[in-house]
């Protein structure tokens, strides 16, 4: 049989060698594709599970529910309810009151314990004294009465109720003991301790190294929100204006080519370089406040601009030229054709690009470290103060807070850091959902 006669008279029902080879190649390629996707999905699942597994507990917190007697003899010796005088009693003065209240609860519940007074006081978070003190200073009339409070349990105790700390691990831990845990369990059984949803994690400021149970994301969320406002207000108009000019109005010559190349290069510059730039320009030269959301926002704006410009130009390029011709053909000016027809059609693409840019900026850490946003910030930044101006007060940001917490020694911060990552991911998810929603909405206008 010669080559030429090979296909003659052959049945369609049997595949020849060539076809079999081709089909095998296709099957192999598909298998590789499926394998690649499976690996990616697996990595994602592992990542998410570990983060959620470690971090979900950050959203719950153990509190003691105590009736606390607030003796006038200790809290307001003068009896005048004068705030200046009362402020002289520090949190150290409040600690014994809390310990006494806990002892009273133990006695009332009839719990036997071998722990001494100091160890019993150790069940309570160091932050709790400040909580009670603030309540007293905010409302001095309650001195001399008995009030019920929800006060934070110490981090190890909290960890015990979340399963992080066990009786065995406590035996090896100098900061707590199995007896303390058993006492806490007995208190919980008697209804004096409760693990409930932890709003403070989202609203409270950061806490010091020894108090993971009190640490919250409030300042970081506010700081990140301020920075996003700065980025949105600056980068969107500047980026869109620059792209519209470059794409629709600028002559095509060597200069615009140069600018285009530079914008593409800027998009690839490592973010830490923008941090150095921000440090040099905004802090050293312009003398803006270190660690302020204003400076952070400016740095992130520089970083986001190329992303927005590139995606906006792509969106403008995708608008068919026939639409521009149509507008010019009925006597619209260049500007009318752009603003009445081209920009609305490009809007979904611009929005998507902007939100992706914002999401990138939200998760950016490196440049913020350089401009001092990694500092430990206890106080909420105000939106406006005469000295610091708009967004000028020290703050921190979500990703930096994650970085910060992972550096700390107390194991309680592992949970906090994972919880912060979950929060960050939820924000990113919300932003992407908004991007998808907006795109659908605009595109539905046929």
């Amino acid at each position: 049989m010669t080559d030429q006669t090979q296909n003659l008279g052959r049945s369609l029902l049997e595949t020849d060698a060539r076809t079999r080879k081709r089909n095998a190649a296709e099957a192999r390629f598909k298998a590789f594709g499926v394998a690649a996707i499976a690996v990616a999905l697996l990595a994602l699942v592992v990542l998410l599970t570990s983060v959620v597994y470690n971090g979900a507990s950050a959203f719950k917190q153990t509190y003691f529910e105590l009736d606390i007697e607030l003796p006038e003899a200790k809290l307001d010796k003068s009896g005048t309810r004068d705030l200046e005088v009362m402020k002289k009693v520090t949190t150290i003065g409040y600690a014994p009151i809390l310990t006494a209240a806990l002892e009273a609860a133990i006695e009332k519940a009839g719990i036997e314990t071998t722990l001494d007074k100091k160890a019993i006081g150790g069940l309570i978070s160091k932050e709790a004294a400040a909580t009670v003190r603030n309540a007293v200073l905010a409302n001095p009339e309650i001195v001399g009465t008995t009030q019920s409070f929800s006060i934070l349990a110490e981090g190890r105790i909290d960890g015990y109720f979340k399963g992080r700390v066990t009786l065995e691990s406590a035996a090896l831990d100098s900061n707590t003991s199995p007896e303390a845990l058993m006492l806490a369990q007995a208190l919980a059984d008697a209804g004096y301790a409760d693990t409930k949803f932890n709003w403070a994690f989202l609203t409270a400021p950061d806490a010091s190294d020894q108090r993971p149970e009190a640490a919250g994301l409030g300042v970081a969320i506010l700081g990140s929100a301020y920075m996003m406002i700065v980025v949105l207000v600056l980068a969107l108009p500047i980026g869109v204006a620059a792209s519209v000019y470059l794409e629709e109005f600028a002559p095509k010559n060597r200069w615009t080519d140069l600018i285009e190349v530079n914008i593409s290069n800027l998009a690839a510059v490592p973010s830490i370089v923008f941090g150095i730039l921000g440090l040099a320009i905004f802090i050293n030269f312009a003398q803006l406040n270190q660690s302020s959301p204003l400076v952070g926002g400016l740095v992130l704006t520089l970083m986001t601009l190329p992303t927005i410009i590139i995606s906006t130009r792509a969106a403008l390029k995708a608008v068919p030229p026939s639409i521009r011709d149509a507008a010019l053909g009925v006597g619209a000016s260049k500007m009318q054709s752009v603003f009445h027809h081209v920009l609305p059609l490009a809007a979904p693409g611009i929005l998507t690009g902007t939100i992706i840019g914002l999401a990138q900026a939200l998760g950016e850490t490196a440049p913020l470290l350089l401009i001092g946003m990694v500092a430990f910030v206890r106080d909420y930044p105000a939106a406006y103060t005469p000295e610091a101006g708009l967004f000028g007060e020290a703050s921190t940001a979500l990703p930096v807070q994650v970085f910060n917490w992972t550096q700390r020694a107390d194991p309680g911060f592992v949970e906090r850091a994972s919880g912060a990552i979950i929060t960050l991911l939820v924000f990113l998810l919300i932003m992407n959902a908004i991007a998808i929603y907006l795109r659908r909405r605009f595109e539905r206008r046929w």
Binding site: S322, I323, A326, A327, L328, G329, V330, G331, A332
Partner: protein, 265 residues
């Protein structure tokens, strides 16, 4: 002798709307239009024919300065609309394009409602004083575009949802809504089926009563059907310009003859 007098009469009857003299167009180094002079008469359909790439569209776009939007394009020579130089420094192309409307090869309605498509031009030129005014302008334009009956019940439906032929008639309605004096059409039927083509051709014939229509077409039959004057372009030159009947039955230039008989093209 007799022949000559006939020619004079024809020119007398038709006042000139657009007069082009010695027009040269360059795309960078490409010389696309070579020394073209032509007088487009008023209230007449003038057809530009010629093999593809010969410069018909390029020359048409000179007449409303659409070539200004192409960076590398350079136009030389003298083009006058009613005696006024349209390339004069004082002329704003935007005002010119309101007077010289254009319909493109591919139907290109705005992705807006049918009503807004037609109303856009009158709106930006401030032609309507009130909503009722605008409604009237839109209706008149759609009627002149011979599409009113098909769309009057769905004026607020998207213009892009119409069929190709309807879209092109909508584009013609949009172009006439700004009350232009000249209507330029660049192969308006090339994307349409024969029935839609017949409708548009009929429309062009009606438009002749009010406008000077210049139509580029690659179909000689179409030129013969709709135009009174025909210009034949070849390789950037205007080879021959005359009465349509004369061009098709008795061309003077051998190149015209070979194109018409199908030997070049």
């Amino acid at each position: 002798m007799n022949d000559m007098r006939l020619m004079e009469r024809a020119v007398d009857m038709n006042e000139t709307k657009i007069a082009a003299k010695g027009v040269q167009v360059y795309y960078g180094a490409t010389h696309a239009i070579k020394d073209v002079s032509i007088d487009v008469p008023a209230r007449t359909v003038t057809a530009f024919i010629g093999p593809s790439g010969c410069g018909k569209s390029t020359f048409l776009r000179c007449l409303n300065r659409m070539n200004d939007t192409i960076d590398i394009c350079r136009v030389e020579g003298d083009i006058r609309l009613d005696g006024e130089d349209i390339y004069d420094k004082r002329v704003d192309p935007v005002q010119l394009r309101a007077k010289v409307g254009m319909v493109f090869q591919k139907p290109n309605p705005f992705p807006k409602s049918i009503y807004d498509n037609v109303a856009y031009g009158p709106r930006i030129h401030g032609l309507a004083k009130s909503k009722a005014d605008l409604d009237e302008i839109v209706e008149r334009a759609l009627r002149r575009g011979a599409i009113w009956d098909e769309v009057k019940d769905r004026l607020h439906a998207p213009g892009t949802g119409l069929s190709g032929g309807q879209q092109q008639r909508l584009c013609i309605a949009r172009a006439v809504a700004t009350e232009p004096e000249v209507l330029l059409m660049d192969e308006p039927c090339s994307a349409l089926d024969p029935i839609a083509t017949a409708q548009v051709e009929e429309l062009i014939d009606e438009l002749r009563a009010q406008y000077s229509v210049v139509i580029v077409t690659h179909s000689m039959q179409q030129a013969a059907r709709v135009s009174q004057k025909t210009a034949f372009f070849h390789l950037g030159h205007l080879v021959e310009f005359g009465e349509t009947g004369q061009i098709f039955t008795n061309p003077r230039d051998p190149r015209t003859e070979s194109y018409i008989s199908g030997r070049i093209g």
